[in-house]
Amino acid sequence: MGSRYTWKTSIVEILAILVGLVFLVPFYYVLSNSLKSFAEILTNTSALPKVLIFDNYVNAFEKLDFLLVFKNSLIITIASNIVLVIFCSMAAYMLVRTKKKISNIIFMTFVAAMIIPFQSIMIPLIKTAGNLGILNSIWGLVFMYLAFGSGMTIFLYHGFIKGIPLELEEAAIIDGCSRFGVFWRIVFPLLKPITVTIVILNSLWIWNDFLLPSLVLQDPELRTIPLATFFFFGQYTKQWDLALAALVIGIIPLLIFFFTMQKHIIQGITSGSIK
């Protein structure tokens, strides 16, 4: 925390860059080997590729059916975010503004349930979902994400709404606005900062989630990116040229998301974890 850039700082800088390079090494290996032929991967793992081979990517892209699985991941993530934001903000608003015992009980139930690990729910859930026939459906999965994400989402909204003054709403009600209108026209726009945080946290979670979709979506046509990667890896074990290209393709959407939203993501994670 020196105030000037001294030779000591430059030593720290070199050290920090070295640590950074260590962090990047796995990316280097995956990326450089994904552009090599299979024979070259085996003989020349650490070196840069001699010739760039993009065939791996074309092959992996086709075999993953990437456009389809990307579309599935996108639909699931967007739809889950929409229902989570709409229903949890509404619920949190009502729970804050209704000063009754029942509101407290419901809120505490949502918060307390956050400690239940998924493994303690999954067996009856999947069996019941099978009996109800909502397995193998993207909308069934979205419904489950609404439930699993509700604890944290309501918790974050609840904390934020408590800080919004009542006067605005009172004025609107006197002007003849309904409760529903008050919420959507006045309160919801004020929730934007926390909504951004919530959408980022939920998107990263849902986009990367593997276990729940693997249990719910058994039809290959419904697979998400993590699911497709998993089955691809199982099918092409040791075919590193294809497998590595598939990994890179799977990571790219996340990196694009990160670099366009970097500031929000870092802020979101900081505020999401401290609360």
Binding site: G20, I106, Q119, F210
Partner: protein
């Protein structure tokens, strides 16, 4: 509620003036208002509460019931067996006991290392470095990628990458078959979790470090404190609340590790790296022994809940003290 009752009196008196209503009518108005409020409450809270009840609460409680049965999911009959499942787990199921011990060991190791490395990284990028923003991004990047894909990336590094580095440098550490041996495969999972988690923890520590007042550090420096003393006696105590948060986050996530375990080792070699979450999964969906799987899941829940409650109590106590 205050505004509503005010509003009620405003509306109520208006109506009284206009129609000079009788008492009975104003009571029915109040009743209608009550029903309207209950309706609104249901409309706002109902949808998510319904999903939550169906997907989380009911399966959770039926799961507790099934932990005391011989449910296998295939035959229709479910027989109550009392504590038999738990007796079996603690006396005969060596795999479960081993998974439990391994998960505990893994949790302790990864909590300590993730926090130490995360804090170290935060200290590094808190310096006035020219590359600090870039480095912050680099350290954080692995955290974006899900555990499943990270596990596959490292599978390649351990199998091919390490072998190649070993060949080039001759360092024996890289020449080992990392995923072929129970001990090194365990450390393999730890490395993946560090690579993923350290950047996340770093972000939280950076936020905490930024809240340390510069004047305090300046004052200490003028008083002749060296870098280490400042770190030990000023910075560390002031970031203590963040430490609690980070310990909590890493404990919960380490104990529940599943994705990286599945994709990196799949429990191998010979089930020696099968953590609890994977063990429960296998019991239920591979062996189809739901009753025993649920008994394991219940124990798993109790441990996770105990850790969480302990952490929250400690951090609340700290907050009160400070």
């Amino acid at each position: 509620m205050n505004n509503e009752s005010k509003l009620e009196t405003v509306k109520g008196s208006a109506i009284k003036k206009q129609k000079s209503t009788k008492v009975s009518e104003s009571v029915s108005f109040l009743n209608r208002k009550k029903w309207k409020d209950a309706g609104l409450f249901t409309l706002f809270v109902g949808p998510v509460l319904l999903a939550f009840t169906l997907v989380v609460l009911i399966p959770f409680f039926t799961g507790i019931y099934y932990a005391f049965t011989d449910w296998n999911g295939i035959t229709g009959t479910v027989k109550w067996v009392g504590l038999d499942n738990f007796k079996y787990l603690f006396s005969e199921d060596k795999q479960f006991q081993q998974s439990f011990m391994l998960t505990t060991k893994y949790t302790v190791v990864s909590i300590i290392l993730t926090n130490a490395i995360g804090f170290g990284l935060a200290l590094l990028v808190a310096q006035r470095l020219k590359t600090r923003n870039l480095l912050r991004t680099v350290f954080f990047m692995p955290n974006l990628i899900g555990g499943l894909i990270l596990g596959f990336i490292w599978q390649f590094i351990f199998v091919k990458g390490f072998a190649s580095i070993g060949e080039l440098t001759g360092i024996p550490l890289f020449e080992l078959a990392w995923l072929g041996d129970a001990n090194t495969a365990f450390w393999g999972i730890v490395i993946v979790s560090l690579w993923q988690g350290a950047g996340y923890i770093m972000i939280i520590y950076i936020a905490a470090l930024q809240n340390v007042p510069q004047e305090l550090i300046e004052a200490a420096r003028i008083d002749g404190a060296n870098r280490f003393q400042i770190l030990r006696h000023i910075t560390m105590p002031l970031v203590a609340p963040a430490v609690t948060i980070c310990l909590f986050l890493t404990t919960a996530s380490s104990f529940k590790v599943f994705d990286a375990n599945l994709s990196l080792t799949n429990g191998g070699p010979f089930k020696s790296t099968e953590m609890l979450a994977l063990n429960i999964y296998t019991e239920a969906f591979v062996n189809n022994r739901y009753g025993i799987g649920e008994a394991k899941a219940l124990i798993f829940f109790i441990v996770v809940a105990a850790i969480t409650v302990l952490q929250v109590t400690i951090s609340k106590k700290r907050e009160v003290e400070s």
